[in-house]
Amino acid sequence: MKASLGMRAGLLSVLIFAVIVGIWHVATLPTAASGPAVDPEYAKLVGAAAATGSKSAMPTPADIGATIWKHLADPFYVRGSNDKGIGIQLAYSLGRVLLGFGLAALFAIPLGFLIGMSPLVYRALDPFIQILKPVSPLAWMPLALYTIKDSAISSIFVIFICSVWPMLINTAFGVGSVRKEWLNVARTLEVGPFRTAFKVILPAAAPTIMTGMRISVGIAWLVIVAAEMLVGGTGIGYFVWNEWNNLSIANIVTAILLIGLVGLLLDQGLAYLARLVTYPE
């Protein structure tokens, strides 16, 4: 019965997709009734839509499909420093995210561990964390550019600063809420503090830490697009910005789909890691 539930859910997904594309297709059908005829000399100088007296329209699903195919067929081209294939742009973004996220993990997990072990420090640092946590990446950017004076490091710093908080809080929380009985048992058996930390607390807090990492990587991936749109140069965010310059909606939709897909893969990867460390109570 379970398999057929999955099957039915899949069928429903396909149906929803078909309905959305269908509505989109109908909504973007070119209108046959054109406006007042314009001078052919004028019509040559403007876009097809403007020549009939209207604004240029949303692309149809078929246009988008063609654009996606064009990008996927040749994802790694390099036509100059400002024009690289979408695969290369995604690789740049992923590299930045993994670097910023990795640094954040290296910083947040040990620190969270220490904070979690001391209720006093936990409560003392809490207000700072709570204030800095909700700050948008775009707000950090000018400050980073001004102080770090390097746009590549600035964008990594912004990812770092935005993805550090969920990991920090979750690690501290996970470490702080390890069952007292387990710690007591360890103490009774005269286990040293390091051994307690690695053999008792870490495995016990691991699922919570992994959840924090999963939230963080999602945030890092959200942040990178905004950061790259601002700083430019390379990356999928730059690609979106560059196509916005050209008002090319088809390319932007392609990028949106790919950003979503990569975000999904990152999330699923960490979810898989999280399953490895869960334990039944």
Partner: protein, 455 residues
């Protein structure tokens, strides 16, 4: 500058005129312009020859006598046997080896940056032995910060920006220089299509306008224009700064009613049927500066040869872009995604000046955008009067001093001479904005003469 030194009639000294006529040398040059060698290389050779001959015959009369006697060809052969003219020519053409060959130049994807951009695909940088990477940048604040952070060796800026940076308005004061203007004219006021009937600025109360940056000619020109029509730009309309590429999207989304922005985004709004061109800024001030090629003073002093080579490529490219017949070729070169990422026809309309106005008409104005590298100090002074007028610049300022420190007219003039181009006389520049003349020697009186101001 392009006089043939092997012509006995040519004077190499500085006297009224070589032909002995009672007119200025400049007029004579204009009259005999046909004798100027056409190719750039020939022009340079001519400059080198003149320098060598001047060294051999310090007294001009002797040279003329000598040439009359033996003839130019013999003289050339005789001198070449003693002095390696060919090698001298070559050494001059190369200048000193650049200290830094791999350079990064930042640009904003607009047609104002045409010389900076086209110099890459069309080889003006490589001709000077430079390996330049032109980097597309998202906005003016970012290009300023990246330049201040030395990520870029040189950059495309709005012409008021180097003044603002040098004065420390809107950032820390860093000595910044502007050896060349990129373009003159080339901007426009674009309004949303729904305002087709509101062509009189008096009807614009409550309009929301966008300009590229607070320190831009666009901001000053728009303020000037509406103020001349009795609207206070701070109270009757709102002006916000929006990066040029986002202007069309905002106009389409009805976030703004119009903008005074750089091309291609005026023409792009027409191309996409979103807005129409209300007027070209040329109609406000014919020949106004807009964007600029800038470097930090530090880069220029630490890498004098790279700086010279870079400036040469820019002046060279600007001179090439100045010629109408090259414009279509340039439009094709800068249209790809690596540079402006725009439809070629849009760029062609801007650069050739035969364009659709968005109201159903085709207009022709070959001067819509022009390229002229000379950084007139008068431009800088006008810009500072407007900074003063609108309260951006509170302190008193020595207009002429700042202008000459930032707008390097002397550098550009000497470079143009070396390249065999004729620099204009730096003191002779008349500025007329909307019919009102500007006297650069009395900037404070000019500021005080306006009814609407913030001082």
């Amino acid at each position: 500058m392009f006089k043939d030194p092997f012509d006995p009639k040519t004077l190499l000294g500085r006297r009224p005129c070589s032909c002995g006529g009672n007119h200025a040398q400049r007029d004579h040059d204009r009259l005999s312009a046909a004798a100027v060698p056409a190719g750039e290389e020939d022009r340079w050779n001519r400059v080198v020859d003149a320098a060598v001959l001047r060294a051999v015959f310090p007294v001009d009369a002797q040279r003329r006598q000598f040439l009359k006697t033996v003839g130019a060809a013999t003289a050339m052969a005789a001198i070449s046997s003693v002095l390696p003219l060919g090698a001298a020519r070559e050494a001059f053409a190369q200048g000193g080896a650049p200290e830094k060959k791999d350079l990064k130049v930042g640009f904003i994807p607009i047609t104002c940056a045409t010389p900076i951009i086209m110099a890459h695909p069309m080889g003006f940088y490589s001709k000077q032995g430079l390996n330049v990477e032109v980097v597309k940048t998202a906005g003016w604040a970012v290009i300023r910060d990246k330049s201040l952070a030395k990520e870029y060796d040189a950059s495309h800026m709005l012409s008021p920006m180097p003044i603002a940076i040098s004065l420390g308005v809107g950032s820390n004061p860093v000595p910044w220089t502007m050896p060349a203007i990129e373009n003159i004219n080339g901007q426009a006021i674009t309004l949303a299509n729904k305002h087709k009937d509101k062509r009189n600025p008096k009807d614009w109360k409550g309009f929301r306008f966008a300009v590229p940056f607070d320190y831009s000619m666009h901001n000053y020109l728009l303020r000037y224009y509406v103020a001349e029509h009795g609207l206070d730009p701070d109270k009757d309309i709102s002006i916000r700064s929006v990066p040029p590429p986002e202007m069309v999207a905002n106009l389409r989304a009805d976030n703004i009613d119009g903008y005074l922005g750089p091309d291609p985004f005026n023409q792009r709004a027409v191309f996409d049927g979103i807005g129409f061109i209300h007027l070209l800024t040329k109609e406000l001030w014919d020949g106004h500066p807009c964007c600029a090629f800038t470097v930090s003073k530090e880069f220029a002093t630490q890498n004098p040869n790279s700086y010279r080579a870079l400036l040469k490529s820019i002046i060279d490219a600007t001179a090439y872009a100045h010629k109408q017949e090259n414009r279509k070729e340039i439009a094709k070169a800068i249209a790809p995604a690596n540079y402006l990422n725009q439809p070629e026809t849009v760029l062609e309309q801007i650069l050739t000046g035969t364009y659709a106005d968005g109201l159903g008409g085709v207009k022709k104005d070959p001067e819509r955008i022009d390229f002229d590298p000379f950084p007139w100090n008068q431009f800088a002074i006008w810009i500072m009067t407007q900074m003063k007028r609108w309260g951006q610049l509170k302190a008193d300022v020595d207009y002429a001093k700042v202008a000459s420190e930032v707008y390097l007219a002397t550098d550009t003039a000497s470079m143009m001479k070396e390249m065999g181009l004729t620099p204009p006389d730096p003191s002779k520049k008349t500025i007329v904005v909307m019919g009102k003349p500007f006297d650069a020697s009395k900037p404070d009186d000019y500021v005080n003469s306006f009814a609407i101001k913030r001082t």
